[in-house]
Structure formats: structure tokens, C-alpha cells
Amino acid sequence: MAGLELRKVYKRFAAIEVIHGVDLEVEPGEFVVFVGPSGCGKSTLLRMIAGLEPISDGQLLIGGQDVTDVPAVKRGLAMVFQSYALYPHMSVRKNLSFGLETIGAPKAEIVQKVAEAAEILQITPLLDRKPGQLSGGQRQRVAIGRAIVREPRIFLFDEPLSNLDAELRMQMRVEINKLHRRLGATMIFVTHDQVEAMTLADRIVVLRAGVVEQVGTPLDLYNHPANTFVAGFIGSPRMNLLAASVTAQSGEDVQVTIEGGKSVSLRLADPVPVGTRVTLGVRPEALVPVEEGHGLMRGEVQITEQMGGESFVYVGLPNGRTVTLEIAGQPRITPGELMEVGVEGGRIHLFGPDEQVLRQV
């Protein structure tokens, strides 16, 4: 178990820079998830940590030691690949023991560690099968088992669940969570699925185009997104982001008017001048239908999605934009009816013209 530190890490492929100076610290035993849309560099960053991609510039420290130029095998890490990458010609047992054999571990130790890992992952009955004879979920377990036997300082997961069906994905998510608690190991997990990120992570690192947008606990990111990108990326359904502008200001108080809607008063730590174009963010669950005249905006219900426990209502605004409401229970709302929408509680986020959050007091 070890911590990890990235210091101003860059990655360039020829002239193209894909990772732009990432700084990050991972505590020993922490479960950190890299999340972001495809092409954001999260897998590249993980591969750089693993040692599969050279680091163009900057420093990588594992357990306080500089390993920037240390080859993959000497970094003491283990990786679980998206496609599992099991050795097709070897039995499950051999797949698990191969890494230990390579580093010349004693036979008795190998047997013991393989048995332990198989026990943890409940794959003991499969030990003599070939990967081709296993289901997707079983292969995934073997791939994780291969990492466990190495007793790595850090576990790396590269989108390990994306090849599984929804049901299995949920199961494996729970299992990986349990595994983390059981082993207490440092884990870095890459995914594009924000639900996976929210449920697994101690801390989430949101990446966009090779830049870290925000680092924080799942609820931190959910409750206090640093910019519109994180606000839109974390949470499902995504946060409603509405174009607005500052129409009045006195001291810390500003009045923000939503395009095609009404005004709302907010108190900002650093007030912005009148006329500034801002973005107003409201989570779907913070929006509620209200009586006429009491809401922020008004529009026509387009679609209602009944999930059973809650419903998602999509309301089209006069300016062509759509807002999403999450309403508990099974309300009777029919498409076509007019709805006045208000905000419950004070959960309104405000972002400036540079997409960064404007702190409220």
C-alpha cells in the first residue's frame, strides 16, 4: 500500500500535447476515480502511472520515491484492463501465477497466494479452466485476481466494467468496493461512467481534454461543482444549466434574470457587474412544479419518464431550451400541459462567463 503523487505531468505524442501538466496526490489506501468523457486523457494518465506510456515531462512519485523513469514492472503496480487481457492459452491458475513466476517467487508462496486470491474472488472451482471457457463476469474476476496475487502497492483499473452488462456491472461494482475495504489497498480506477465514479470513489478526479477540472469527494463534486463542465458531468440526469444575465447589483446582492424566465436574487462573495452573462445551474431534484406566478420559469411539458420511485419531467421553455425535473413518486403529469417551475430550497449554482463557479455567501 502506497500513496502516489503526480507533479506537473505532461504527455505529448509527437507535437500533440494530450496531458497538460497534471498535479495530483493520492493518499495510501485511497480509492480514486478518474472520470471524464472519452478522449479526455484519463486512460493515458493511468497508463503513464502504470509505466506503459512514458511520461513526457514532470514527475511521478510512488510511496515517496521518484519512479518517473522506472520500468513498469519495478513500480510494483498491478493493472486490470478493459478487455481483461487474460492469457488465452493459460489456465486460470496459470494466469494468476504467471506474474509471480516471472519475478521468481518461491513455489509454495505462489500456490498459497493463488489459492487466497481465488478464495477472495470465489473462482476456486474455475482454476483449471481456460479463459475462453469463462463468462464475462468470471473473466473479470480472474483479471482482478491476477492483480491481487501480486500484492501491488497500487491497483490500477482501466474501465474494467465497461464490457459487462448492466446487471453484472452493478454486481462487480459492489464487489470491487468490498475488495477495496478488505484489502485496504490504494486503487485508481478509470471510467467514463459518472455513476461508477460516484459509487466507488473516495475522491473523484474529473478530467477534460487533458486537464484536471476538479478533484473532490463525490458529494463535494455534486454539491459544489467548480465549473459548468463538472456540474453537467456529475449527476444523472444532468444539472440544468440555464443562460442568464446579471440585471441588478448592490453590494454582495445580485439579481440574475434567466433567459425566457424570471429573476432570482443571490448573494455572491465576489459580486459581478450588471450585464455579465452567467449560467445558472439547478439540479433536477431541486426543481418543483409550483403554482402559477410563484415559479422561475414556465413551459410546456414535453415528456414524462416514470421510473417508479421517481419521475423525470422534461419541460420546454419559450426560448427553446429544456429543463429536467426529478419528482419523487408517480405524479400524474401529461405531455402538453403548461407547468410553472420553481426552485425548492436555495440550491442554485451560478457560473461566470469563464464557466467557473461564482461563490455564494
Binding site: 502504470a50 509505466g51 506503459l52 513498469a72 514492472v73 503496480l77 498491478a78 493493472m79 484492463f81 478493459q82 478487455s83 487481457a85 487474460l86 492469457y87 488465452p88 492459452h89 504467471f98 506474474g99 516471472t102 519475478i103 491476477r146 501480486r150
Partner: protein
């Protein structure tokens, strides 16, 4: 329903054509096998006739008809063919691994050059090669026929293997890297075991081509005790002076096909899989 008789007639026609073509193709072989059971005087006087009985004399006498027994010729052929197979499979797969997986300066140019040698006829390099081996003192030994095979000279096999290796997911290599493997171990423990179809293909073709080779041994081997089977077969006509031992030659020719048949039949499945995968997998 009305189409059925037509398609049946078409099928019959198609089969007739195919059978005819097969006969044309296989006729020389059948003729040789039949002639091997006939006495010399009947082979050309009545070439179309079936042998009256299965007369094994040609086989028994032919084996020892030349100054050196066919036991020696077969031994020579097998030594050369088996070493050539080992050399080709090892050297070509290693070269292919480098082209498919390793990063080195000028990789693309080297690969293009290697592919270029495919277009170079064997006969073009024959004379310079002979001079080279003459200077090394290798003429009249098996070395010119074996040593080059350990230097990955067969671009066709390299190409076949490169294509196959490229079809093996890179993540498997990377998993092996994480497991502590260097390039050698990846080659030996991961790539080779995963490539049995293409290795078998290369092995079978190497065996058949080397075993059947006539020109190479003809140029480099001059003493009869070094002859391979194809060279020895020609000696039936040379050594007999006025009298040609055609029956015995056909008998030995027929026998010489047996190893090729066995190899081909035994590995046919692997061969077809190897060729198909090599060609279709990106």
C-alpha cells in the same frame, strides 16, 4: 419448384467439369504410381494399361539401385528439411515479432525492404550466393541449405507471422509487461504459444518446400553420399548409362511423396486455419 430440375442439371454439369479437371490434374500422379508397378518394357510400350499385378520389385530393387542406398538420401533430406523448419520457424517468428511489436529506428523502411525481397527471384541471387558459400568453404556441405534459414530469409513467412501477431491484442502484451515480462519473455511465453496456427503453417510449408527443393541441393551438393531424395531420383537416369531404370525411378518417386502426404494430412487443419487467420485477421 420449377427451378429444381435446372439447378440439378447445373449441379451435375458442374460436377462433371470438376471431376474432369480433377482427373486431368491427378493423371500424371496416377500414371507414375501405376508405372511404378510395371516392368520397364511395359511402361512406354503400353502407357495407358493398368499394371497386371502389384509387382513390388521396382520398390525393392530401386531402394539400393544406386551406388548409395536411399536410406542415406532420406536421412540427408530429413536432416536438411527438419533443420530448415526449425530455423525458419524460430528466425522468422522472432523477426516478425520485432516488426509487429517493437519500436526501433527505420522499422517501416526495413519492413518494406524485407517485403521487397519477395519480388526477388531465387535465381537472381544464385550466383553471388554460390560465390559466397564457395569462399566460406561450404560447398559440398548441407550448410548453404540450412544456415540461411536461421537468418530469417523467408520474407513470406515473416509477412504471414507479422499479420498474425498484429491480430493478437496489444493489451495482452501490456498485461505481460505489468507481470514483469521483457520482450524476450513476451515472445516466448505469450506470442509463440498464441501463434500455433501460423507457426504450423510456416513449418509445413518450410518442410514441403525444402524437402521438394531440387535446385539448391543440385548446386551445392556434388557427392552422391550427400544427395537429397530429389537429386537421387534424377540419378536414376544419369547413372544408368544406356539403360534407364524408369520403373525403379517411379517407384522411388512414389515413395518420396509419402512424407509430404503424411505431413500435409497430419497438419491440414492447422494449415488451413493458419492461412485463413493470417489472411483475414487485421
Amino acid at each position: 419448384m420449377s427451378q429444381k430440375p435446372i439447378s440439378r442439371r447445373q449441379a451435375a454439369l458442374r460436377h462433371a467439369v470438376l471431376i474432369l479437371a480433377s482427373i486431368v490434374m491427378i493423371y500424371p500422379l496416377l500414371w507414375m504410381v501405376m508405372s511404378s508397378f510395371k516392368p520397364d518394357n511395359l511402361i512406354f510400350s503400353d502407357p495407358m494399361a493398368l499394371p497386371e499385378a502389384l509387382n513390388w520389385d521396382n520398390y525393392v530393387n530401386g531402394w539400393n539401385a544406386l551406388a548409395v542406398s536411399f536410406t542415406t538420401f532420406y536421412r540427408n533430406s530429413f536432416i536438411i528439411a527438419i533443420l530448415a523448419v526449425i530455423g525458419n520457424v524460430l528466425a522468422c517468428s522472432l523477426t516478425a515479432f520485432a516488426f509487429a511489436r517493437l519500436e526501433f529506428r527505420g522499422r517501416k523502411i526495413w519492413f518494406a525492404l524485407m517485403m521487397g525481397t519477395l519480388m526477388l527471384p531465387y535465381h537472381v541471387t544464385l550466383v553471388p550466393q554460390y560465390v559466397l558459400f564457395q569462399n566460406l568453404g561450404w560447398v559440398n556441405t548441407f550448410l548453404p541449405l540450412i544456415v540461411p534459414k536461421f537468418m530469417a530469409v523467408d520474407a513470406f513467412f515473416i509477412f504471414l507471422m507479422v499479420q498474425f501477431f498484429r491480430g493478437i491484442p496489444r493489451e495482452i502484451d501490456e498485461a505481460a509487461v505489468m507481470d514483469g515480462c521483457g520482450p524476450w519473455r513476451i515472445y516466448w511465453r505469450i506470442m509463440l504459444p498464441l501463434s500455433t496456427p501460423v507457426l504450423a503453417t510456416a513449418a509445413i510449408f518450410s518442410f514441403i518446400w525444402t524437402y521438394d527443393d531440387f535446385l539448391g541441393p543440385l548446386i551445392y551438393l556434388n557427392r552422391m553420399q550427400d544427395y537429397t531424395v530429389p537429386l537421387a531420383l534424377r540419378a536414376f537416369i544419369d547413372s544408368s548409362g544406356g539403360e534407364s531404370l524408369f520403373g525403379q525411378m517411379f517407384a522411388m518417386s512414389t515413395l518420396s511423396l509419402v512424407p509430404v502426404f503424411i505431413v500435409f494430412l497430419a497438419f491440414q487443419k492447422l494449415l488451413i486455419r493458419g492461412v485463413a487467420m493470417g489472411a483475414l485477421k487485421r
